[in-house]
């Protein structure tokens, strides 16, 4: 199983349009489950299609293992049909005029695999994905989840070196999506295939990936383990895109902002941040509420707030809490004993602060203090 190396890849459609992908460097290791995560239009699908060979490059190069598959400089372009990859489309793209079995063994037939071996392989795959009983049906007679499995089976049948998945779960309902996620994880463990998975759903990326690459506006924002991405976002975009409800941001505006002034001076002294601070982020679940000041650990940052709303979400509660100058939305795992209009204290432990500079990039000084574990 090869690794994939993307070096300085660019993609533009026509000179007037903005680049779909700009100067992208990406290394996808052998056997990795890599998620390309980002909002729609961020270039993640384009990146996937460039790996597959369905989009040409406008600059840069792509290698699969030692093999150069795409390069303008070298004048190399290996067409998709010769890249030995598998791609599952968002629409599944099953061939409507073929039965499930024919859909599945199409690639094997192309490779002129002997009949006995072909049948054996198709049977195994169909059994593994639990679609053997539909083999004589046509795609239109299957449900979305079943079609999804066929699309996977079709690509797995040819033993692809790399399996590419383009938002394959977005057309499924919530329950099926959960099942398919488990299925994908199992497939990854069983077939030991390198998987590149495109999604805009951060939950999906968090639960599936060994490595996440966050993209925005055609550029790579951060690459790292799910834990890294969540706990050490490299910039404001990653910090705000990953996590629901989103991270609370205290902006350093030009006007004198009490909360920002207090928080930044706390951060500066307590966390020894020396650079100029642009904004401060706190994940909602790391903001605690207390009814009296003696319940607050001495080491932490705290501020007086007025509760203006409590929004139950079923398993947790989102509280709308106003300081003199800002509004924060902490989440509580148990029902807060508060009503709109109540006064309270919020407190934040020092290691929960994410500090960004004026340009929105993470100030890593604070990370040194706590040496958060990384994996």
């Amino acid at each position: 199983m090869p690794s994939i190396h993307i070096n300085g890849a660019n993609k533009s459609y026509g000179s007037k349009m903005a680049n779909a992908v700009t100067d992208l460097d990406l290394e996808i290791g052998d056997g990795e489950f890599m998620c390309l995560l980002g909002p729609s239009g961020c270039g993640k699908t384009t990146t996937l299609r460039m790996i597959a060979g369905l989009e040409n490059l406008s600059g840069g190069e792509i290698r699969v293992g030692d093999r150069l598959v795409d390069s303008i400089q070298e004048g190399v372009f290996v067409p998709p049909e010769n890249r030995e990859m598998g791609l599952v489309f968002q629409s599944y793209a099953l061939w409507p005029h073929m039965t499930i079995e024919r859909n599945t063994d199409f690639g094997l037939r192309l490779r002129k695999i002997p009949k006995a071996e072909r049948e054996q392989r198709v049977n195994d795959i169909m059994k593994a994905l639990d679609i053997a009983k539909y083999r004589d049906r046509y795609p239109s007679q299957l449900s979305g989840g079943q079609q999804q499995r066929v699309a996977l089976a079709r690509m797995l049948a040819v033993n692809p070196t790399v399996l590419l998945l383009d938002e394959p779960l977005s057309n499924l309902d919530a329950r099926l999506r959960l099942e398919m996620r488990a299925e994908l994880k199992r497939i990854h463990a069983e077939f030991k295939t390198t998987i590149v998975f495109v999604t805009h759903d951060q939950w999906e990326a968090m639960t599936l990936a060994t490595t996440i690459a966050v993209m925005n506006g055609g550029t790579l924002q951060q690459i790292g383990s799910p834990n890294d991405i969540y706990n050490r976002p490299a910039n404001r975009f990653v910090a705000e895109f990953v996590g629901t409800p989103p991270m609370n941001i205290i902006e350093g505006g030009s006007k004198s902002d009490d909360l920002f002034q207090q928080a930044s001076s706390f951060v500066a002294t307590r966390l020894r941040v020396q650079s100029e601070i642009g904004s401060i982020g706190i994940r909602p679940e790391t903001i605690q509420l207390a009814q009296s000041i003696d319940q607050i650990p001495p080491d932490s940052f705290h501020n007086r707030v007025t509760v203006t709303g409590v929004l139950p979400t079923g398993g947790s509660w989102i509280v709308e809490a106003k300081t003199a100058s800002a509004t924060l939305f902490p989440t509580m795992q148990s029902a807060p004993n508060l009503r709109p209009g109540d006064g309270a204290y919020l407190w934040i432990s020092p290691d929960a602060f994410h500090v960004f500079d004026r340009a929105g990039n993470r100030l890593t000084d604070a990370d040194e203090v706590f040496r958060r574990p990384t994996n």
């Binding site: 300085g8 100067d23 597959a52 369905l54 040409n56 490059l57 600059g59 303008i72 400089q73 004048g75 372009f77 067409p79 998709p80 049909e81 010769n82 890249r83 030995e84 990859m85 598998g86 791609l87 489309f89 629409s91 793209a93 099953l94 061939w95 409507p96 005029h97 199409f106 690639g107 192309l110 490779r111 699309a151 079709r154 690509m155 040819v158 590419l164 550029t219 790579l220 924002q221 951060q222 690459i223 790292g224 890294d228 050490r232 490299a234 910039n235 340009a359 990039n361 993470r362 890593t364 990370d367 990384t374």
Partner: protein, 617 residues
């Protein structure tokens, strides 16, 4: 720390690394990609073929109009091929310009606008009755009233002559004259009947256009006006009519374009009283070998056609401003007709009778009666269909037993069939190239060039073919009188529909199924054979069937390009008309009408579409 270093490396402030790529490298890369698949090669080939089949004939006839033609060297005292303005002068300014161009132009305009006014009035009313009222039998009428559109227009012209013919032309008696009343010329021939017949033929077109516009019309717009105190009349005038304007203008322009190229009806009904329109004037010029004047006339018709359709595109763009945003309220509430229900039904029934029932019945009866309009049992006979040894000069057998009919039928089937199959396949191929080719310019050119014949009335296009292929040019032999010229002209004539169908089919299919096959390891040919063609089977069949039907009905191409040995059903029936074998001619026309009608029905079944889709619901 490694992670921190990495985070740093990704920060936006990092030095942008740019490796210079030369233009030559880009060109080599894209050239390689373009040449990797046959799409580009086939695309270029198709572009060359269509340039030759579509653009070159048009240029050729335009040049005819300013070049001294063979045989005119003496009169124009110049060498053949020299540039001259003599033909333009002849057509537009000479003493005979009145007969050649101006009178036919006026006739074309009056006929077109007469037909437009009547069909818009009747069609608009019927569309409203079908979509917005509780008239009984709406669903049946919605299908039945579309029928005239499926039949060739000159079917009705023949029915008209059968009924109203007088002694101005020879042959059998008209029914009315046989019953004792000789219709005057102005009823029997010329402007009035042509207007009526074209109006009836294009009424379904208006019904379809207006009907779909009215169906989409949101009742809440009316309700709002009513709440604000507008009367029904005011609502009609201030709300509905302005919103219908795009559909109205579109109908006017498209019917005008169709009238411009209409040949059969004015030929059958205009000729006896020398009532010429532009298309028949062009036909006369060609028939009398005035190729220079024909060039000028054909160019003039083409220019009017192009201008008209440019106007339509402009109007459609203008109309976008009027797009009413569909909402959940786009329900369409029906007006109650009350005591008018019976009258409305009567009106619709009468329209069906006049536009479908009476003409078809007349034509049919005329083929089974010995003496016109004599309704006694012994006057009925099937001799004209299946009789032998009839007492006519040139046509001794019934139509179905005549070898001429079967030869014409065979010719029709082979010529039209070959052309339809070719244009259907080419259409899908053009669709594929337009949608898939990495070369945008090639795609754009193919899309435009295959659409171009749509702008050119068939008769002018046929004249262009005649101009290009009448003599041998370079390696291409003279094609006039061969099957090849008919097939080529038909292919070119049908390409707009075929390529539109192909493009929309390929667009609808999307890239995914093909790309899935590509990733699975299938090369171009395998993808075409196993994925694209099987999936597009249905649209390919329609893409062949629809040109086939319209080719069978078509007259203007054949009437100029066919010779007796390449007679098809339409020209065969026209020849029979010229010889005044009314019964035989009508029988052939009925056969054509039947093929056209059942073919259309079959095509609708096949594609699970319906022209009258939901109009009566």
């Amino acid at each position: 720390m490694a992670i921190i270093a990495e985070v740093d490396r990704k920060s936006p402030t990092r030095r942008k690394r740019t490796r210079h790529i030369t233009r030559w490298q880009v060109l080599r890369y894209h050239g390689k990609i373009a040449l990797r698949e046959p799409t580009t090669f086939i695309g270029v080939l198709a572009a060359i073929v269509f340039t030759y089949l579509i653009v070159v004939p048009v240029i050729s006839i335009a040049l005819d109009s300013v070049k001294v033609q063979l045989g005119h060297e003496r009169r124009l005292s110049a060498n053949a091929g020299d540039i001259t303005l003599a033909y333009i002068d002849r057509v537009f300014f000479s003493p005979i310009s009145q007969d050649l161009f101006w009178a036919p132009l006026v006739n074309t305009l009056t006929v077109a606008f007469g037909a437009i006014s009547i069909s818009v009035l009747i069609g608009g009313l019927v569309a409203w009755l079908l979509t917005r009222t509780d008239m009984p039998g709406r669903r049946w009428f919605a299908t039945a009233l579309i029928v005239p559109y499926m039949l060739p227009a000159w079917t009705f012209a023949l029915a008209w002559t059968t009924l109203f013919k007088n002694r101005t032309v020879g042959g059998g008696l008209g029914w009315l004259e046989a019953l004792g009343w000789a219709p005057p010329d102005w009823i029997a021939y010329g402007r009035v009947p042509i207007i009526i017949i074209l109006a009836l033929h294009y009424t379904p077109f208006v019904i379809l256009l207006f009907g779909s516009a009215m169906k989409r019309f949101d009742s809440q717009l009316e309700d709002c006006a009513r709440i604000l105190g507008a009367s029904r009349f005011q609502i009609g005038l201030r709300i509905i009519l302005p919103l219908m304007r795009p559909a109205l203008l579109s109908a006017i322009v498209l019917i005008f374009a169709k009238c411009l190229g209409e040949f059969g009806v004015p030929y059958v009904l205009g000729l006896p009283v020398h009532f010429d329109v532009l298309s028949t004037s062009l036909f006369r010029s060609i028939a009398s070998r005035q190729s220079g004047a024909a060039g000028v006339l054909a160019s003039a018709i083409m220019i009017i056609g192009v201008l008209t359709l440019l106007m339509d595109t402009w109007l459609v763009r203008e109309a976008r401003r009027f797009v009413t945003v569909g909402s959940k309220g786009s329900m369409n509430r029906r007006s109650r007709l009350g005591k008018w229900r019976a009258i409305a039904t009567g009106f619709a029934g009468l329209l069906f009778l006049v536009s479908v029932g009476a003409p078809i019945l007349t034509l049919f009866l005329s083929t089974v009666m010995k003496i016109p309009a004599l309704f006694t049992l012994d006057n009925f006979t099937f001799d004209f269909w299946i009789g032998r040894d009839l007492e006519t000069v040139g046509f001794p057998n019934g139509v179905l037993l005549s070898p001429d009919l079967w030869r014409a039928a065979y010719n029709t089937l082979t010529i039209v069939g070959l052309a339809a199959a070719t244009s259907g396949i080419m259409g899908l191929l053009v669709g594929y190239i337009v949608v898939r080719s990495p070369m945008r310019l090639l795609a754009l050119f193919l899309r435009q060039v295959t659409f171009f014949p749509y702008l050119v009335p068939g008769i002018a296009f046929a004249a262009a073919y005649l101009s290009l292929f009448a003599v041998s040019r370079g390696p291409v032999p003279a094609l006039y009188g061969t099957v090849a010229i008919l097939v080529l002209a038909l292919i070119a004539d049908q390409m707009p529909y075929a390529s539109r169908a192909g493009i929309s089919a390929m667009t609808q299919l999307g890239k995914d199924p093909e790309e899935a096959a590509q990733v699975a390891g299938a090369g171009w040919l395998r993808r075409m054979l196993f994925i694209v063609v099987p999936i597009q089977k249905g649209s390919l069949v329609t893409g062949i069937l629809l040109p086939f039907i319209s080719g069978i009905k078509g007259l203007s191409l054949f009437v100029i390009l066919a010779v007796p040995s390449t007679d098809v059903l339409t020209t065969f029936s026209l020849r029979l008309i010229d010889y005044h074998y009314t019964q035989a001619a009508n029988a052939v026309v009925l056969i054509i009408a039947a093929i056209a009608y059942f073919g259309t029905i079959a095509a609708q079944r096949l594609t699970k579409t319906n022209l009258a889709e939901g109009l009566g619901n």
